[in-house]
């Protein structure tokens, strides 16, 4: 059990981390965003509900660490046409909550976010519940897991090629 002081310190560090992640995504700072991941990171955007089994059913994104790296490398080529030109993005993140501690000591956090995307096609609004597992690695917070539950993930979605 954390003391009130250390709990407040942790909440503040976690909030700062989540805001920073949001800014790196909005500004297409691909390498800096990738550096936030632990070596065993999992980036998951389910389709067709909140709790499908990603080992059995299709997800919009279900990247292990090496596929996260591949996704970033593709964006860095400058020839990922759907992000050439890049979407203009700004997102609001709120409702940041520390959840129960995970086995193994990972910090479990959730937030809500709303993203405004302006692309060649049109302007699109995306809304999501985000669930994270964060971990201190060499004194720095890192993401070991990020699950993005889009509110409309049961519907047909337009291309989602920026970092959500």
């Amino acid at each position: 059990m954390l003391s009130r002081d250390s709990s407040a310190t942790l909440a503040s560090a976690v909030t700062a981390f989540i805001y920073k992640e949001a800014r790196l995504q909005d500004e297409h700072a691909y390498e800096a965003w990738e550096a936030l991941w632990t070596d065993d990171g999992v980036y998951w955007v389910p389709a067709n509900g909140d709790d499908i089994d990603p080992e059995k059913e299709m997800s919009i994104i279900y990247d292990n660490r090496s596929r996260i790296s591949l996704r970033i490398k593709q964006l860095l080529t400058g020839k990922r046409h759907t992000q050439t030109p890049q979407s203009r993005l700004r997102r609001l993140v709120s409702n940041i909550e520390l959840l129960d501690e995970q086995a193994g000591g990972d910090i479990s956090v959730a937030s809500n976010s709303m993203v405004f995307e302006s692309s060649l096609r049109d302007d699109t609004i995306w809304a999501a519940r985000n669930e994270y597992r964060l971990r201190y690695v060499d004194g720095e917070l890192r993401m070991a897991y990020k699950k993005v539950i889009l509110v409309n993930n049961e519907k047909a979605l337009f291309t989602l090629s920026f970092l959500i």
């Binding site: 299709m58 996704r71 080529t77 046409h81 337009f158 291309t159 989602l160 090629s161």
Partner: protein, 419 residues
């Protein structure tokens, strides 16, 4: 133009090596396509494995219309229109489930899962009414081929096997990849929406000219051997089966490699369980041939695209609004293969796919592009002077040639001219 061409005028818009831009952008032409293509010819709807048990149902579509595919208590597959026969309310609001009947929430009319009206509220108001005349609407003809269920709203016309013609053999080739000879559609669908006409999707599926450019970003960083299949020196071919069905046949390249599972970027050693089941099912030599050749890359007109490891179902919603429904193919009796199929499919396709997000970007840019009317035409003449016939008499050409588009438009014209 906003005026549907008369039968004699389609030839002015569809020439042997070019088609008019308005065919993609004119709302009146889209309405004519619904009548002459989507509500007439055979359209792929769903797969029998999506309703494995009695009373299972799954909601599908034919164009903008919602269709409930049910398996009734007798085990028969029905395609019912999701529209109450009373006042038109949708009777089913869930994507899938198990139900003996559907009760309309508006006035509580209840329909059996074979479409029969079995009851309505306060029946005394309907004294003398023949319930059998108030069943759910249904797709007029339903036929399946190796588990793939197709529907046609036309009471008469070619049967499904006639419609599939030479392309039926590609489905035979596909199901062999299961040691039990059956495809299963069990991994759930991603639904990817594009602001583009459906025919940009249809024509791109067997366009072997674009991968080297549209997908260079991923081929380069993934160390992929796919790019070479679509290069100038490739021996792969494009094929026109007639009836609008088209293929990219990559077998010549895979046979040169002469290595089982190379088509899928893997080896027999990495899929030991699958390999042993295939050899047990087909014998060593036949299993080896199947596993060298790879699965087909075939576009069954107008909406079923089997793309080696996944399948797409194209749904037109409006002249500039389409959905690609896509799932990993799964082969019965092949668990280790199926896992890899899901992982590769998830990376490649859908709204965030490393491949399909870029294709979809092209569809949307093409759609905006053809709104410009100079030049008026889409030019589809690539390889027109080097078309040849294969041993079965189908037109084939270089993998980058536009034989598939020309074949699609030839069939399209015949459907639009038929009254």
């Amino acid at each position: 133009m906003n005026v549907v061409p008369r039968a004699s005028q389609w030839g002015e818009l569809i020439r042997p090596d070019r088609v008019h831009g308005s065919l993609y952008s004119d709302p009146a032409i889209f309405e004519a396509e619904l009548q002459n293509i989507w509500y007439r010819t055979w359209v792929y709807v769903g797969h029998e494995s999506e309703v494995p048990n009695a009373n299972d149902y799954v909601v599908k579509s034919i164009g903008p219309q919602s269709v409930i595919m049910t398996r009734d208590e007798q085990g028969k597959v029905n395609l019912l229109l999701n529209r109450c026969s009373h006042r038109g309310n949708q009777v089913c609001s869930y994507d899938k489930g198990n139900a003996r009947s559907f009760t309309c929430p508006f006035h509580s009319w209840t329909f059996a899962n074979d479409g029969r009206l079995v009851g309505y509220a306060f029946p005394d108001g309907y004294e003398g009414q023949d319930k059998s005349k108030l069943a759910l609407g249904r797709v007029t003809r339903v036929q399946s081929y190796r588990g793939f269920v197709f529907g046609s709203f036309a009471a008469e016309g070619p049967d499904l096997e006639e419609h599939l013609g030479g392309a039926a053999e590609t489905i035979d080739r596909l199901v062999r990849f299961s040691p039990e000879g059956e495809v299963e559609v069990t991994a759930g669908f991603l639904k990817h929406r594009v602001k583009a006409n459906w025919k940009f999707i249809l024509e791109n599926e067997c366009d072997g000219y674009h991968p080297a450019f549209v997908h260079s970003s991923i081929f380069g960083v993934a160390d992929s051997a796919i790019g070479k299949l679509y290069g100038g020196a490739s021996t792969a071919v494009t094929r026109d089966y007639g009836n609008g069905h088209t293929e990219i046949d990559l077998r010549p390249e895979f046979r040169k490699r002469d290595t089982p599972m190379s088509w899928f970027g893997t080896t027999e050693e990495r899929l030991p369980d699958y390999t042993s089941r295939m050899k047990a099912a087909y014998g060593d030599q036949k299993a080896r041939e199947i596993m060298i050749d790879g699965t087909p890359h075939v576009m069954i007109f107008p909406n079923l695209f089997i793309a080696e490891i996944q399948m797409f179902v194209i749904q037109p919603l409006a002249v500039d609004d389409s959905v690609q429904h896509v799932t990993a193919l799964q082969f019965k009796g092949a668990p280790d293969m199926n896992r890899r199929l899901r992982q590769q499919t998830m990376g490649s396709v859908g709204p965030a796919g490393l491949l399909l997000a870029d294709d979809s970007e092209m569809y949307e840019r093409c759609h905006r592009g053809v709104l410009a009317r100079n030049p008026e035409w889409i030019f589809l003449g690539r390889g027109a002077k080097r078309e040849r016939q294969d041993e079965l008499g189908f037109k084939v050409g270089h993998v980058t040639d536009e034989i598939p588009s020309r074949g699609i438009w030839r069939h399209y014209r015949s459907l639009m001219e038929a009254v």
